[in-house]
């Protein structure tokens, strides 16, 4: 019998025998957090061999960063005041520096019976749909924006996230900015308080929402660009309307004049339109946790969001002196032309020049 027992135990620790020839993880920065930029960070880390990234959600990333069990964090949302206080308390008074790394669009795909084209919807209309104020596809407001499209008299199914998510936060922040009533009823958060009197279906993660849109007729949802593409929903992603000043040639009395005019323009989510959203004015040494949703930049897709790498302002005080150089090398690679060129293929948009310059300048402030 001794043999059986011994064999059982031996089989059990066979895996443990592989510990010999351990390789060291030293020199590779370890990061965790937001799932939104996962594809980009994973690719950059794999290509550069400078870092390893694990996607576990923004809040998880912030918690790890605060607890000092990773070298850098990643989040779609800035730290809350409680999180900031905890960071200062636990990491020797070190602060957080936000490094925007890329831009991404949140698409609003639709799946309507008999309509096989991109719908045009104003931000306020989308807000009314997700707040429950508009519940039929042939609502006058939708019809007015989509002349020539035969919209059915069917009620709308809204597909939303089942889990807490940065994508929900970006989407609802945008809707709250354009439609104040949305902020007070649904709210801008990772877990919005969706209306209960209309049809709302939840799906886990981005693919779950994409599947929900595909599975349900007369539905609308919000999905990141990569999963919208994978699910074949990119061609049905709404062109979002916003009010913008446009120049227009006007011919009067034989002369051509250029007049400025406020007009609703509808912008679809493409790499170029998403990238434009980063064209914001920045003050010198301004913290870079700026919100890019509802960007006023001309031609910018309005539901655009950025995501940040979280870095200790002072590695030594944070008790992480050993990882400072790994993190700085990692970030320099993230901002390199080579890395930023990878983004469109991953369905993200590169940072515009001003934002990238500001981020590189901020690198020098890391102690």
């Amino acid at each position: 019998m001794n043999r059986t027992l011994r064999n059982t135990i031996a089989a059990g620790i066979a895996g443990g025998m592989m510990l010999t020839g351990a390789t060291s993880a030293l020199g590779i920065a370890n990061g965790s957090g937001a799932s939104f930029p996962n594809q980009a960070y994973s690719k950059w880390c794999a290509d550069s061999k400078l870092c390893s990234y694990t996607s576990k959600g923004s809040t998880g990333g912030i918690t790890d960063f605060v607890n000092g069990v990773t070298d850098f964090g990643a989040s779609d949302a800035p730290l809350t005041s409680t999180q900031l206080a905890a960071l200062r308390r636990q990491r020797g008074g070190a602060n957080v520096l936000y490094f925007p790394t890329l831009l991404g669009g949140v698409t609003v795909p639709t799946n309507i019976d008999g309509v096989n084209k991109r719908l045009k919807l104003r931000g306020t209309t989308i807000a009314k749909i997700f707040k429950g104020d508009i519940d039929r596809w042939n609502h006058p407001e939708i019809r007015a924006a989509n002349r020539g499209v035969s919209l059915p008299n069917e009620s709308i199914t809204r597909c939303v996230r089942a889990d807490g998510s940065g994508t929900s936060f970006a989407f609802t922040s945008y809707l709250s900015k354009v439609y104040p009533q949305f902020r007070t009823s649904v709210g801008a958060s990772q877990r919005p308080n969706w209306p209960s009197n209309v049809s709302v279906v939840t799906g886990p993660k981005n693919p779950g929402v994409a599947k929900c849109v595909n599975d349900n007729d007369n539905s609308i949802g919000y999905v990141d660009t990569a999963d919208a593409r994978s699910a074949g929903l990119l061609d049905n992603a709404t062109a979002v309307g916003k009010s913008q000043v446009v120049r227009r040639r006007v011919r009067s009395g034989g002369r051509t004049r250029i007049v400025r005019q406020r007009k609703i323009v509808y912008i679809a989510p493409f790499t170029k339109t998403i990238s434009r959203a980063g064209n914001v004015r920045l003050r010198r040494n301004q913290p870079l946790n700026v919100s890019l949703t509802n960007s006023s930049a001309p031609g910018a897709y309005p539901i655009t969001t950025t995501t940040w790498v979280l870095v200790y302002s002072d590695f030594a005080r944070a008790g992480k002196a050993g990882s400072k150089n790994d993190v700085l090398r990692t970030l320099r690679y993230f901002y390199s032309a080579r890395a930023q060129r990878d983004l469109p293929k991953l369905q993200f948009a590169p940072l515009p020049a001003n934002l990238r310059a500001a981020a590189l300048a901020q690198l020098n402030r890391v102690r």
């Binding site: 064999n7 996962n38 779950g208 999963d227």
Partner: protein, 675 residues
Amino acid sequence: MSPPPATAAGAEPEKGSALGRSERRHPITRPVASRVADQAYVWLCTLAALAAMAGVGYLIYKTAAETGEVWSTYGIWGFLTGTEWIPQPADGQPVFGALPFIYGTLVTSAIAMALAVPLAIGVALATTVFLPRVLRGPVSAVVDLLAAVPSVVYGLWGILVLVPTLRPALEWVSEHNGPLGFLAGPVTSGSYLLSGMVLAIMVLPIIAAITREVFLTVPVDQQEGAYALGATRWEMVRDAMLPWARSGIVGASALGLGRAVGETIALALLLGNVPNVGGSLLGPGSTLAGVIALEFGEAFDVHLAALTALALVLFVIAFIINALARLLVARSSGGGESLVRRALTNRGLAGLGTIRAREQEGGDGLDEPADEPGIVEPPRRLAGLPSVSTSRRVRSYAAEGTVYLALALALIPLGAILYEIVRNGLPAISWDFLTTEQPPDAFTPGGGISNALVGTLIMMGIATAVAAPLGVLTALFINDVAAGLGPGFRRIGDAVGFFVDILLGVPSVVVGLTVYLALVLAMGNFSALAGGIALGIIMFPIVVRATDEILRLVPEAQREAAEALGAPRWRTTVSVVLPAAAPGILTGTMLALARASGEAAPLLFTSLGWQFLSTDVLAPIAALPQLIFANMVDIQTPESTELAWGAAFVLVAMILFLNLIARLIARFTRSLEVR
């Protein structure tokens, strides 16, 4: 032939023998070394049990300590009966009510158990008694294999295959049973009924495997006795096997229920995640474990406390379920005794019994080296004997038919899932797939799983090294040591068993969080070691429960025989009890390993993940289930889906391989035993 001790715990004949054991010790003088070894054995088991208790206590304490804010704000009753769950309201205070999740957990688990337990008993009977000998091994291996399928695969299979297949049927049901209310439409893609069905498929292999092991411990002479009395196959099963195995079946079901109650990701994918109370079984709902898994990643402050409070509620539910299961076992323990009497008083059987008994004289079955010992074939019919009455024969055939029906019902979905894994996973497999690191992103074809495969192997090794010895020692304490120390200690043993059982229903993410708080923060970084320990904690209760069930069924006569020969306690355990229980212990350990190997959620908190090949136990490391999850649930591209299916295939194949090795070891040592 002595009446079978249907339940060893608390049954009277055992108490007597425990006393007898201590009396017997006096007249024999033993060498000091032997006494020291005995003491060491007792202490080792006691220490293991104490460690287990401390572990469970720490887990509960850590969990409870996080929840103070919830009780002070909402009150216990208010929290438990609240029907609204609004963690981040647009304005005002968040609202947390647990009732929809308690309801969802109970309903889905009830559906799952109602479907799985009968089917599992059917499968276990088929693979021990009814199927032709050559088919028993392969069929039970297939069933075992399904215990290893990661739950995310079950969830995806449910969404991709089961929902579309059953939708027309469910729609028909909702139209024709509308007035019944609980089966009213509309049929949503996620529903209680579908979730319960998938859960049933998930827990079936666990229940079936343990039940089979329990059936295999039914003493051969007992079965032969039944046949000797002229019993048909079904009558033998009903009178000789089921009463003996009842407590084991309840134990196996408790294991299955633990998995059902604690299941997260499959339900997150399938149930629709709408906090509902009441409503149609065809509508969406939400469960405790499901909401914890879905919201944990992005929760903080009160929300986090409320989720942890839900975990505490889950502890309590597991506690209540276990208490009920134990009551059930205690109440049914009298049933076994009447076997012989009932058989003898059966009409026309008495005379036959005498003839058959004489016929069988000479071999008592126990030392017959059958290649699969434990179950005997019914004897061939002798000429000139009174034939079995038609009604009994019909009943036997009906029972046999039912067993085959259960087997078929169980094998169809199990086969469908395996088919799906093989169909999607096999094309991805190549040498490069196993030896290349994961691809840089989900859009790049190629890449492999080497970092995740090595990580999973290392963590499974650590987990087994933690859970298997500790689990077996704890089970020995419950079953042997505590009972031997006296009636008071027996109760302590029962209490230990009870607390360990509570661990069964703990959602794995809570285990991950506890290890994060206790180990990762103390060490200052994520590590394979922390991941292995978390998986070990998940394995531990399964090992204890499975070992305990098997140890109970080791015939008391064997122990007594060893002690009568003057063997010290530890010697009896090592040479008699453990060999008899070894196959069951191996099965239990394999089931535990299979369950743990598919866990992704706790690893995010413990081993985190690593994009490169690493074998450093003190550094972060990758794992297969995380890779599957990240490439099937987080994002879905054609490339990532192929990678994920390939990884699922490898994970299942790995468990199959380990299972085969375990079975070979069991068979090998068994044949040594006979010699």
